[in-house]
């Protein structure tokens, strides 16, 4: 009984013991807050990296014969769409026709005749079916942008984003223009406005000879802009109606890839990849699965959005691992606080330890007395730290604004991010891990002075004055 009674009394009566609690409290609350903010930023980074990417992208390698049969893949889109949509995990799918070329801004028209000119922008043309695309990707949300500045301009009719702007009057003497959607960043970079005409240029393949030697220019009208979370994508992507793009290119392919939305990406992605591969190969619209994962000649063809951003996501995970190591060091410092306070206490309480031995306390009992002190300090510090850390993570924005007001400096510059608040994610597994680690570190730190107390010679201890 004495170990609990005395540990509580020592903690209550010796304010210096609260330094150990305080160090654990500060470490735990700071770790939880840092973890929440870092997780928030990492999650935003993931969203940012994802951009318009759908859950899955199926991109058949049409020019590669099936290794087992020597047959070429079917190029029609319908068998692909039917098979994809038949999968129970798939909620939507949309075909895309992808090609590459250049955008010739209005002030640079005619620059193709001057190959030394740097006035062109390399872009990817993505032909889409808007309604299908809306269902499978975040495009509709990205078109619903607030028109914050001159260059941001949502299409007049979101249900038909390629419709002419209302104030545009087509020239009856000219061929009706095709319309495009481009990233707000790209429009801003080149000073383009909704309703403005510009020229696209590309080279195409001769369907007869397969030679990549046909140049093609087309005048188009900017019908609107979008803003995804991935700025690089916004700078490089131009959307057109899929059929209009096919018509311009004279392509015999109906599509290049199909983007797929799953009911639950986290749950279904890996299974769906395997099953879709199997089902699509059976329909001869995709190559069958490789015999080994290390096959270097194997066309991947079916990728999750994470597969597409693997290296960048790996970098994020690496950051998270580094963060974990740094957080571990903070806990070690807190553990050192507990160690220092208890070591000091054992030195100060040598005589008490001797008295306890004389009164019949066992070394095990004395060990648990000092471990109880370390454990109680850690428990109180951890509980308060968790409450404070979670509270701070939830109310980080008002807190940051208050700090900014008090100190007259801008702590979080909202203008440099895509989001207007400090992102936080409260990860309970991480919080539990921090709490358990804090208590474990404190107990390990307390064990060293506690062992010293337990094995103190009572005669030496009683002699201590």
């Amino acid at each position: 009984m004495y170990r609990f009674f005395l540990s509580l009394r020592y903690i209550r009566m010796r304010p210096i013991n609260w330094i150990g609690t305080l160090s654990i409290f500060v470490a735990v609350s700071a770790l939880i807050l840092i973890l929440a903010i870092m997780s928030g930023f990492l999650e935003k980074s993931r969203e940012h990296l994802r951009g318009h990417l759908s859950d899955l992208v199926v991109a058949p390698s049409f020019d590669l014969p099936v290794r087992q049969t020597g047959a070429m893949l079917t190029r029609e889109v319908q068998p692909m769409m039917d098979t994809v949509l038949a999968h129970p995990s798939v909620v939507a799918a949309a075909p895309q026709l992808v090609w590459y070329g250049m955008l010739v801004p209005p002030r640079r028209e005619g620059v193709l005749s001057d190959p030394s000119s740097m006035g062109m922008v390399m872009v990817s043309f993505v032909g889409i079916d808007p309604q299908l695309e809306y269902a499978a990707t975040s495009l509709r949300k990205d078109l619903e942008i607030e028109e914050k500045h001159l260059f941001g301009a949502r299409p007049d009719d979101l249900d038909d984003p390629f419709a002419y702007p209302k104030n545009y009057e087509p020239d009856p003497d000219e061929r009706p223009l095709d319309t495009i959607l481009m990233g707000e960043s790209l429009a801003k970079a080149w000073g383009l406005h909704k309703g403005q005409t510009l020229e696209l240029a590309t080279a195409t393949i001769d369907p007869e000879t397969g030679a990549f030697d046909q140049t093609a220019n087309r005048k188009v009208l900017l019908a609107g802009t979008f803003r995804s979370t991935f700025n690089e994508m916004d700078l490089q992507r131009v959307y057109m109606d899929r059929r209009a793009l096919g018509d311009w290119l004279g392509r015999y392919d109906e599509y290049s890839q199909v983007v797929v939305k799953l009911a639950d990406y986290e749950r279904d992605a890996e299974t769906a990849k395997v099953e879709l591969r199997r089902d699509l190969a059976a329909q001869n619209v995709l190559h069958p699965a490789p015999e080994s994962l290390g096959d270097p000649d194997y066309p991947w063809e079916l990728l999750t959005w994470e597969d597409n951003r693997r290296s960048m996501l790996a970098a994020i995970e690496n950051e998270r691992a580094l963060l974990g190591i740094m957080l571990g060091l903070v806990l070690l410092v807190a553990g050192f606080g507990v160690f220092a306070i208890l070591s000091m206490m054992v030195s100060e309480k040598r005589r008490d330890i001797g008295i306890l031995s004389a009164l019949g306390a066992t070394p095990k009992g004395i060990l648990s007395l000092f471990l109880s002190i370390g454990g109680l300090e850690a428990l109180v510090g951890t509980v308060l730290g968790v409450i404070a850390g979670v509270y701070a993570a939830i109310y980080i924005d008002p807190f940051e604004q208050w700090l900014s007001r008090v100190f007259g400096i801008q702590i979080f510059d909202r203008s440099i991010y895509y989001f207007d608040h400090i992102p936080t994610v409260i990860e309970w597994t991480g919080i539990v891990a921090i709490a358990v680690a804090a208590i474990a570190v404190a107990l390990i730190a307390a064990a060293i002075p506690a062992l010293r107390a337990a094995y103190l010679n009572p005669v030496d201890a009683l002699r201590y004055e």
Binding site: M13, I355, L359, G360
Partner: protein
């Protein structure tokens, strides 16, 4: 003094400490018995090994050679935990410097041996009994108004009375007192001593008392004189009542 088997029986006790390359011999083979109800006084000049012998007899220090039996059990053949339990249940200590816990009240200090003897559940089940026992001791020792006072608010005599109450809480058969009045003025020391002797008498304790006070010898059953780590003389007395001046 009783003729029954001794509460403490020490035979051939030697104690030495390594000091650099040498070995410092403190005790050279001490034999000692303490019987139930006996008041045994250990006297000697400073540095003769009295406190070392007391620590060994109280199972706090292991002898280099020799054996100590406490209530018939070989104390240094027991495990550390068994030895601690033996100490808790059978030996009450009174120290020169009181050795109370500064963080505890007088009542809590007095109840500490019971907290050590029992786990939380066992203690909570008997707390009332121990509290009544501690209160009874403290009331008898004139500390009724000091129950909630911490040692820092108590005089030296009061602190020593709390220490005696603590040593008696579990009703041990043995009491070891190491110069219990050594830190008190004469009048206060005499009061404390009276109280100690009264309780020894009342409970039939075996009391082992270390003192420098020659006058005390006449109030003990036996006086052992230590010289250079050996017991060189033994005097037997018939107890005297304290002189009027001492009282």
């Amino acid at each position: 003094m009783s003729d029954s088997s001794p509460l403490i029986q020490a035979r051939g006790i030697q104690r030495s400490y390594p000091v650099g390359d040498r070995t410092l011999e403190i005790l050279h083979g001490v034999d000692l018995d303490l019987f139930p109800g006996e008041r045994l006084c250990l006297m000697g000049a400073s540095g003769t090994g009295k406190t070392t012998l007391l620590n060994i007899l109280g199972l706090l220090d292991r002898p280099t050679q020799g054996q100590v039996h406490v209530v018939g059990r070989n104390g240094w053949a027991l495990s550390t935990a068994e030895r601690a339990r033996l100490r808790n249940a059978h030996i009450g200590y009174v120290f020169q410097f009181y050795h109370l816990f500064a963080e505890l009240t007088a009542l809590e200090n007095a109840m500490l041996p019971a907290m050590i003897q029992h786990g939380p559940l066992g203690y909570l089940g008997k707390r009332k009994v121990y509290k009544e026992r501690a209160l009874e001791l403290l009331h008898r020792f004139g500390l009724s108004a000091r129950l909630k006072h911490r040692p820092g608010k108590l005089s030296g005599g009061e602190q020593q009375r709390v220490a005696i109450a603590r040593s008696l809480l579990l009703d041990p058969p043995i009491m070891i007192a190491d110069e219990p009045t050594g830190n008190l003025d004469q009048a206060t020391g005499e009061k404390v001593l009276e109280l100690l002797f009264e309780e020894q008498e009342r409970r039939g304790l075996g009391l082992l008392l270390v003192t420098h006070d020659e006058n005390l010898g006449t109030r003990c059953d036996r006086v052992l004189r230590m010289v250079d780590g050996l017991i060189q003389g033994e005097e037997r007395h018939t107890r005297e009542a304290p002189s009027e001046a001492e009282a």
